[in-house]
């Protein structure tokens, strides 16, 4: 909202945020607010909650910035400040261009009015001039594809229909900057694709997009940059793949802390129960076995495995890895169709992924798998021993096990990465060890066989002449 600086010096910046801070005053009881304001020189009667603690970033025109982070990380506050709803406690916000914020789709809709009337009302709320209103409503009608329901009251819409109308209303405004908060997770698959392709259109037309989502793949595929907001701070900023790996690591650590907290609680409860009844304590459950394991030692592995583990650990950056390490991935290798270790495989040939694992303690039915991702970080193939129907034998303490996955990679030539994971169970985030980008490899084209899509499936073609 600067006027003078708009022109020559940095025409490319659409959003600039500098050292943004927001503190909420929380009053336990409503009367505290009154007492604090009315009693002169009274004590402070509120708790301060820092939603944003000095966030800075810049978004250039035409960029798509994905914002990801756990709940309570400050995403919503940031968006509300950017769209001018709330005032920051301190810091600077500069937004250049008309902005449309979709903080909650369907805001302002009146249930008793028809879709058409609501579209017109939404347009006028968003400052569409009366003269353009009919054209706008026609565009919305076209995009939403609600057919005869467009003229029925919104009250009788299904939630999917409601979302269609809301999204259509929002994207047909064609603003310079679009802010979207968790909007794409609704609607049927057909409509989701339509929304994503509309956002890609907007990007091609050099519109700036801010996308808040919990869907890592959406952010990887839509955004050219991502930001991880955690506890009101910008933890990570840059390439979406790397930022999302960090997001997963943080989710894992949060989960582990939560489990540890529950374990403490349960211990307290069981102790009391035991004292009361004299029974033996309950057997250790799922939540009981999450302490970080002691690191494995050279003696436990032997010199050759120890050297391999050392080289592997040096190769994978520490921040892309998380887990309790009760079981550990000490190496991963790719072998080509001739069973030769290689980082380059030919399209359509069989390859073997060998994961070497070490177990500090005996683990019942561990699950090993990996995620194969393309260069944008998009999850292409995910397999594990459980989905393949192979139950890993229960390894004893100090066991080292090689697990080999043999599969045929019909993937578009390009660069791919493998993220192996060793898990206690099929539960999300229940990892002993998870390593992002543990191995990067190339798929090269087979002679004269073009792959038009992401992958290819053997296809049989038949003809039937009708006339």
């Amino acid at each position: 909202m600067s006027q003078a600086t708009d022109s020559a010096c940095e025409p490319e910046v659409a959003i600039r945020v500098e050292d943004l801070r927001k503190t909420y005053n929380l009053y336990r009881r409503p009367v505290d607010l009154l007492l604090e304001k009315l009693l002169p020189g009274g004590r402070q009667r509120h708790d301060c909650v820092e939603a944003l603690r000095g966030v800075s970033f810049e978004v250039a025109r035409g960029e798509c910035l994905g914002i990801i982070g756990p709940n309570g990380g400050g995403k919503s506050t940031l968006l509300r400040i950017l769209s001018g709803i709330q005032q920051p406690t301190s810091g600077r916000v500069e937004v250049r261009g008309a902005m449309s914020a979709l903080l909650a789709l369907g805001s302002g809709f009146v249930p008793d009015m028809s879709g058409r009337e609501n579209a017109a009302l939404y347009g006028s709320l968003r400052g569409i001039a009366s003269a353009d209103s009919d054209r706008y409503v026609a565009l919305v009608e076209d995009f939403a594809e609600l057919e005869e329901f467009f003229d029925r009251p919104v009250r009788i819409y299904s939630s999917g229909m409601f979302m269609r109308l809301a999204f259509a209303c929002a994207v047909e405004l064609i603003p310079d900057i679009v802010i979207i908060d968790e909007a794409l997770s609704v609607g049927d698959a057909y409509f989701q694709h339509k929304c994503v392709s509309r956002l890609q259109d907007l990007r091609r037309n050099r519109r700036t997009i801010l996308l808040v989502s919990h869907d890592p793949n959406l952010i990887k595929s839509m955004c050219n940059r991502a930001m991880l907001l955690y506890a009101g701070q910008r933890l990570e900023y840059g390439d979406p793949g790397a930022v999302i790996d960090d997001y997963h690591r943080i989710r894992f650590e949060q989960d582990r802390r939560a489990v540890a907290g529950r374990r403490e609680l349960r211990r307290a409860v069981t102790t009391n129960a035991t004292e009361a009844t004299g029974d033996s304590p309950a057997a250790p459950g799922l939540a009981e076995r999450r302490p970080l394991a002691a690191p494995c030692t050279a003696e436990a592995l032997g010199p050759e495995l120890w050297a391999r583990r050392h080289a592997f650990n040096a190769a994978v950056a520490n921040n892309k890895r998380y887990g309790t390490r009760e079981g550990e991935i000490i190496d991963i290798r790719l072998r080509d169709h001739d069973n030769v270790p290689s980082n380059s495989v030919v399209y359509g040939r069989e390859v073997t992924v060998v994961v070497t694992t070490y177990y500090a303690n005996p683990i019942t039915a561990p699950i090993l798998g990996f995620m194969l991702r393309d260069h944008r970080g998009y999850d292409v193939i995910g397999v594990n021993t459980h989905t393949c129907g192979a139950e890993l034998p229960c390894p004893g303490a100090g066991a080292v096990v090689d697990v080999a996955f043999r599969l045929t990679l019909r993937l578009r030539p390009g660069s791919y990465s493998l993220a192996p994971g060793l898990s206690y169970s099929l539960n999300d985030l229940d990892y002993m060890d998870w390593i992002n980008q543990a191995l990067t490899f190339e798929v090269v084209a087979a002679d004269a066989f073009p792959v038009y899509g992401v992958t290819y499936f053997d296809t049989e073609v038949t003809f039937a002449r009708l006339r």
Partner: protein, 265 residues
């Protein structure tokens, strides 16, 4: 103040739309529709007319207003009262009902009382139309004094906007205000000479009633519509001062609270 006028002018179309939506929303889905806007106040009117007119036989000072019909005496005062009632009863809900517009659409909160004002004025306009019909059919007729009517409506609107701003803003921080307003309305109804006239109060107590800000609109409406003469100068001045004071105080309170409103809404 200038900025506010610009905001309101910029959003004039949507504010009008919101007023229409508000009117429609209240009546659209019921069978009687707009009829409900009048059935409820009419029922109130009928109740009071029977209780105070027919049973308690309140006297109407015909020497003051030139008519001894209790029904007319009552309805002329109830018309502005219904408007005041609506301002106070709905004021504290303005920002909560329109929370989405403030919190999700970044709509300027200070403009949101406008649709409520317009909706109330819409009802008020229909009441004035009905009142003019009553006057004609009761044999009172219309006189030149009725040209004061637009002035009264304007002053009432200023008062209403002030009330709406004040209640809408303060209620975000002090949510008890809605309950206070409800009780206050009950007291105010009887503390204002609506079902009785000022002259029926002992002279020593009249100054108390004249401290009541709502005395002035009621008295002004009675002079113009019932006595059909220009309002007495003290009533006109009192009405203007009270209305502008309400408007200014409401605006000041709202602007002072505005930056904090989204944090607490």
């Amino acid at each position: 103040m200038k900025q506010l006028a610009q905001t309101i002018f910029h959003h004039r179309r949507v504010l009008l739309d919101l007023a229409i939506v508000d009117i429609r929303r209240r009546y659209l889905s019921s069978v009687l529709g707009l009829g409900w806007a009048f059935l409820r106040p009419l029922a109130t009117f009928a109740l009071y007319a029977v209780v105070f007119g027919a049973i308690l036989r309140m006297k109407v000072p015909s020497d003051v207003y030139g008519s001894d019909s209790y029904g007319l005496f009552l309805i002329v005062a109830l018309v502005p009262w219904f408007a005041i009632f609506e301002f106070i009863a709905r004021g504290s809900a303005v920002l909560f009902e329109q929370r989405d517009l403030v919190m999700r659409m970044a709509f300027p909160a200070e403009a949101l009382p406008i649709p409520y004002l317009l909706a109330a004025l819409f009802n008020h306009a229909i009441w004035i139309g009905l009142l003019l019909l009553f006057l004609r059919f009761s044999g009172m007729g219309w006189s030149a004094a009725l040209i004061w009517a637009p002035v009264l409506v304007l002053l009432l609107a200023a008062m209403g906007l002030g009330i709406l701003w004040f209640l809408a803003g303060v209620n975000v921080f002090l949510r008890d205000l809605g309950h206070f307003a409800e009780i206050g309305l009950n007291f105010a109804f009887f503390a204002t000479p609506i079902v009785y006239s000022l002259t029926s109060v002992p002279p020593a107590w009249r100054f108390l009633l004249m401290l009541n800000p709502f005395y002035y609109p009621i008295e002004a409406y009675r002079s113009v519509f019932l006595a059909q003469c220009s309002p007495p100068i003290h009533v006109l001045v009192g009405f203007s001062v009270v209305s502008l004071l309400f408007l200014f105080a409401g605006f000041r309170a709202f602007t002072a609270l505005k930056p904090q409103i989204p944090d607490y809404l």
